[in-house]
C-alpha cells in the first residue's frame, strides 16, 4: 500500500484554489472599479494591459 501524501494533495488543491480564487477576486475588483469613479485612476493601467 503506497503512502497517500495528503500534504501534497492539499498543497496542489490549495495552489489551484489560490490562483483561481485570486483571479476571480481581481475580476470582481476590476468590475467594481469601473462603476466607481474614484477607483478609475487605478483601473486605467490594469484593464487594458
Amino acid at each position: 500500500m503506497s503512502a497517500d501524501h495528503w500534504g501534497f494533495v492539499v498543497a496542489a488543491y490549495g495552489v489551484a484554489i489560490l490562483a483561481l480564487g485570486g483571479y476571480w477576486r481581481r475580476l470582481v475588483h476590476l468590475e467594481r472599479s469601473l462603476k466607481t469613479p474614484m477607483l478609475r485612476a487605478t483601473r486605467r493601467r490594469s484593464l487594458t494591459r
Partner: protein, 215 residues
C-alpha cells in the same frame, strides 16, 4: 446571464470537488496522491480550449478589426495562462512525492512550460506597446503564431524525450484506464471548463465596458 453562468460554474466546481475526493476511487499504485490529477489534467484541457479561442479570436480580429474579437482574445489568453499555470504548479507538486523531484524535463511539463512563456509573451506585448490598437494587432500575431506552434511543440518535445526516457521512469498517471477514473476526470473537466468560461465572459465584459467608457 453572466450571473447564472457564474452560479453554474460555482456548482460545477463544487461537484468536481466532491467527485475528486468523495466519489473517485483510491488509485491502486499511487494511492490518494493521484487525486491531484483531477485538477492537473482538466486545467490543461481548459487551457487548450482557451488557446484555441485565442487563435480564432485573433484571426477574427486581424480580419475584421472588431474590438470585441480583441477583447475575447485578450480575456482568453489571461484565462489560458492562468489554468496553464495551475497545471504546471499542480504537476510539480504531484511529481515531488511520485518522482522524487519537483521538476523533470518530461514531455508534458516541458510542453506546458514552453506554452506558458509563449502566451505570457502575448500579455507582455500588450503591456509594452504604447499604442493600444497596435498592441492588440501585435498580440493577435503572437497569439496566432503561438497557437499554430502548439502541435509543433508537442511533437518535438515528445520525440526529444522519447529517446531519452530512462526505462524505470514512472509517469504520474493512473496505472490502468479505469472507467470510474475516466468519468471522474470528465466531471472535473466540465466543472473547471465552466469556471474558465465564466472567467473569460467576465473578463471580456470588463474589457468591453472599459473600452466603451473611454470611447
Amino acid at each position: 446571464m453572466m450571473r447564472s453562468l457564474g452560479i453554474v460554474a460555482a456548482l460545477g466546481v463544487v461537484v468536481a470537488g466532491i467527485v475528486a475526493f468523495g466519489l473517485a476511487p483510491r488509485e491502486v499504485t499511487q494511492g490518494n496522491v493521484q487525486r491531484i490529477m483531477y485538477v492537473h489534467v482538466p486545467a490543461i484541457g481548459v487551457a487548450y480550449l482557451a488557446f484555441i479561442l485565442v487563435f480564432v479570436a485573433s484571426i477574427t480580429y486581424l480580419w475584421t478589426r472588431a474590438p470585441e474579437a480583441d477583447h475575447i482574445a485578450h480575456a482568453a489568453t489571461e484565462v489560458g495562462v492562468l489554468f496553464l499555470g495551475v497545471n504546471i504548479a499542480t504537476g510539480a507538486i504531484w511529481g515531488k512525492p511520485t518522482w522524487g523531484t519537483w521538476w523533470t524535463w518530461d514531455a508534458r511539463l516541458t510542453s506546458a512550460a514552453i506554452l506558458f512563456v509563449v502566451f505570457v509573451g502575448y500579455l507582455l506585448v500588450r503591456r509594452m506597446t504604447d499604442d493600444h490598437e497596435r498592441g492588440a494587432r501585435f498580440a493577435a500575431v503572437v497569439g496566432i503564431v503561438g497557437a499554430l506552434n502548439i502541435p509543433l511543440v508537442h511533437f518535438s518535445v515528445y520525440w526529444w524525450r522519447a529517446l531519452h526516457q530512462p526505462p524505470t521512469f514512472l509517469k504520474p498517471g493512473p496505472a490502468a484506464a479505469s472507467a470510474s477514473i475516466g468519468w471522474s476526470l470528465l466531471v472535473c473537466f466540465a466543472g473547471l471548463a465552466l469556471l474558465g468560461a465564466y472567467f473569460v465572459t467576465k473578463r471580456y465584459a470588463v474589457l468591453r465596458a472599459h473600452q466603451q467608457a473611454s470611447a
